[in-house]
Amino acid sequence: MIMNRRLRIGRIILTGLAALTVPSVLSHAQELPRVTFHHESRLTTSEGHTGLEWSGDRDSLMYELQSAREPDFIDPTSQYHGTDEASFLSGLTDGRYFFRVRARPSENDTWGPWSESVELVCEHHSLTFAWTLFTSGGLLFLFIVFFVGLNARLLHRFERNDA
């Protein structure tokens, strides 16, 4: 009878200890690295390029940057895999692009959760406006070439005047 009570007290103490320690052991395993982007969640570009910057909640993390054309990342592309905390993208055509990033401490660890996604709206300048500027600039340039060229051929006429 005394043995049974000791055993019961022992079990209660053990259970109590377990109740205290197990959750913290579990939460430590849950401390996977989180990543956040440095900028707003909606970016725009009229030139098809943008720089993405992010950081994890600790040093020396390996990152994966993923992109997709749909907000639910149905058909994702892995853009970058490494330790850099930025990536510059360019040459994008009109449309919406979505990015997210995740991290892990090393090759063998599990990935942390994905960051909040960033949306990039790419809308190139009006082509008509571009051609207008191009043409006017071109005309102005041609005037200069013409004027300089013409006078270059007639440089000899100054020799008499400069006597």
Binding site: S46, E47, G48, H49, G51, Y80, G82, T83, D84, E85, A86, S87, F88, L89, S90, G91, L92, T93, H124, H125, S126, L127, F129, A130, W131, L133, F134, S136, G137, G138, L140, F141, F143, I144, V145, F147, V148, G149, N151, A152, L155, F158, E159, N161, D162, A163
Partner: protein
């Protein structure tokens, strides 16, 4: 692979800095033997031959922008970006006949400001002086800052030290050697730059053949191959006109026109344009090849050095360091010399030392170089980020000088009132356009307004300039 590792070790960086710094200074002192007279100091005795004349134009026009910005341009705006950048060579081509005319019309001339003063009078002189000094100083400051930033990014040399070292080296050898030193070092620097980028480009091709680069771009960055790329298209002529304005007005180019032997100027500038043309193409190629090589680009402005280091290892890092140092030095020394010439001859001499002889002016010129260097250093030191963008304000300003200059050189009827109005209106309206519409319109509008003003004023109130006024022999007073 740690992400903030530099391409070179700090000790290698300091070593290279010291090595080349000492070399340029030694050459400056050596060549300075001939820079005792004012003509020797400011215009290299007016006897520079074709090789050096060409090389100095090439080297001076290759700035850190050419080696660092061209890859960035290519990465952002693709093939059009490369083509747009290359059009800056047209400024050199078009200056060729101007160089000939300048030497012919002003056989005893020293500066571009002098030309404007003689041709158009005091009002134009004042406006043009402001534009010239603004452009000269902001260019110098942007180069100084770029130097500090690059040395820090490449080798971890602290910004303040790197920037100061570059400026100090340039001030010292320009001080001792004048335009002789500037041009002589330019020759060496242009060779180094040409060799450097060819090596890097060929090395890249062995790792990433062109078909692969093209395919990669087509798959991942298709807009870079787009002929109908709006942002690039609208920038082309704006940049072109900016470039032409820079070259046409700046005493950096005029002083060379005065320095070159008779008959050399035109050929030198034509060849310089041709030699400069491929450099942004090759540098731009570095930028486009980066993704194919598998390099993650964190910032577009460091893609050039990153690629070189990736392909050639630490040797690539050393090469980039040297090339960048050369491109910076070759521009800073020219600006120092040219700006100091303007301040000495067009501000100090007329207002403070009107009766001074050449030897005294020569001494003043030295003092001015040091002062200009100090001012530049002072502005560079706080490393204000937005300063580099101030250079872009110069776009409409220098664009507005194009037509007053070419009309002034060739058109007898062009008059002072027209020139003043053209520069002021062009600058003002161009700047408004910069802020209201966008940077890609500023030079364009500045030049257009100036053009119309010059044409209208010349037709409405034509002058009748006597070209001989420009050829006035300076009164030689021996102190």
């Amino acid at each position: 692979m740690p992400e903030d590792s530099t391409v070179l070790s700090v000790s290698t960086g300091y070593l290279l800095l010291a090595l080349f710094g000492v070399m340029w200074i030694a050459l400056g002192i050596f060549w300075g033997r001939r820079a005792k007279s004012l003509d020797g100091f400011m215009v290299a005795g007016r006897n520079v031959g074709l090789a050096l004349g060409t090389a100095t134009a090439v080297a001076t026009w290759i700035t850190s922008n050419t080696t660092m910005l061209a890859p960035q341009f290519a990465l952002q705006l693709g093939i059009w970006g490369i083509l747009a950048y290359s059009t800056a060579s047209f400024g050199l081509f078009l200056f060729a006949p101007l160089a000939k005319r300048i030497r012919q019309a002003m056989p005893h001339g020293y500066t571009s400001v002098e030309f404007i003063r003689l041709r158009y009078g005091q009002a134009a002189y004042a406006v043009f002086l402001v534009i010239s000094l603004f452009y000269g100083l902001t260019w110098m400051v942007s180069m100084g800052m770029a130097g500090g930033i690059l040395l820090e990014a490449l080798a971890g040399i602290p910004y303040a030290f790197g920037m100061s070292a570059i400026l100090l080296v340039c001030v010292v050898y320009t001080l001792f050697g004048g335009l002789y030193a500037v041009i002589g070092t330019d020759f060496i620097q242009s060779l180094i730059i040409l060799v450097g980028i060819v090596i890097v480009a060929v090395a890249i091709l062995t790792r990433a053949p062109l078909t692969e680069v093209y395919a990669n771009l087509q798959a991942n960055r298709p807009a870079l191959l787009n002929v109908l790329f709006p942002a690039a298209i609208m920038a082309v002529f704006n940049n072109l006109l900016f470039g032409i304005g820079e070259i046409f007005h700046s005493n950096v180019w005029w002083s060379r026109a005065f320095a070159m032997r008779e008959g050399v100027g035109m050929k030198a500038y034509l060849m310089a344009g041709l030699i400069w043309l491929p450099i942004p193409v090759v540098a731009g190629f570095l930028g486009l090849a980066a993704p194919t090589i598998g390099i993650n680009i964190t910032r577009p402005d460091t893609v050039g050095p990153l690629v070189a280091a990736n392909i050639l290892g630490s040797a690539g890092g050393v090469l980039v360091f040297i090339v960048v140092f050369c491109s910076l030095a070759s521009s800073i020394d020219s600006l120092l010399a040219a700006t100091s010439d303007v301040v000495t001859k067009e501000i100090i001499q007329p207002f403070f030392l009107p009766n001074a002889g050449d030897p005294q002016i020569r001494r003043v010129a030295s003092l001015v170089i040091v002062t200009v260097g100090l001012i530049t250093w002072g502005v560079c030191l706080p490393k204000v980020g937005t300063l580099a963008t101030v250079l872009f304000f110069a776009g409409p300003l220098v664009g507005s000088t194009i037509w007053p200059i070419i009309a002034g050189l060739f058109w007898k009827r062009a008059n002072g009132t027209g020139a003043v109005l053209a520069m002021i209106l062009g600058s003002a309206i161009g700047l408004i356009a910069y802020f209201q519409i966008g940077w890609y319109t500023a030079s364009l509008i500045g030049t257009a307004v100036s053009f119309l003003t010059v044409v209208v004023t010349t037709l409405v109130r034509p002058g009748a300039f006597d070209w001989r006024t420009l050829a006035v022999e300076k009164a030689v007073v021996q102190a």
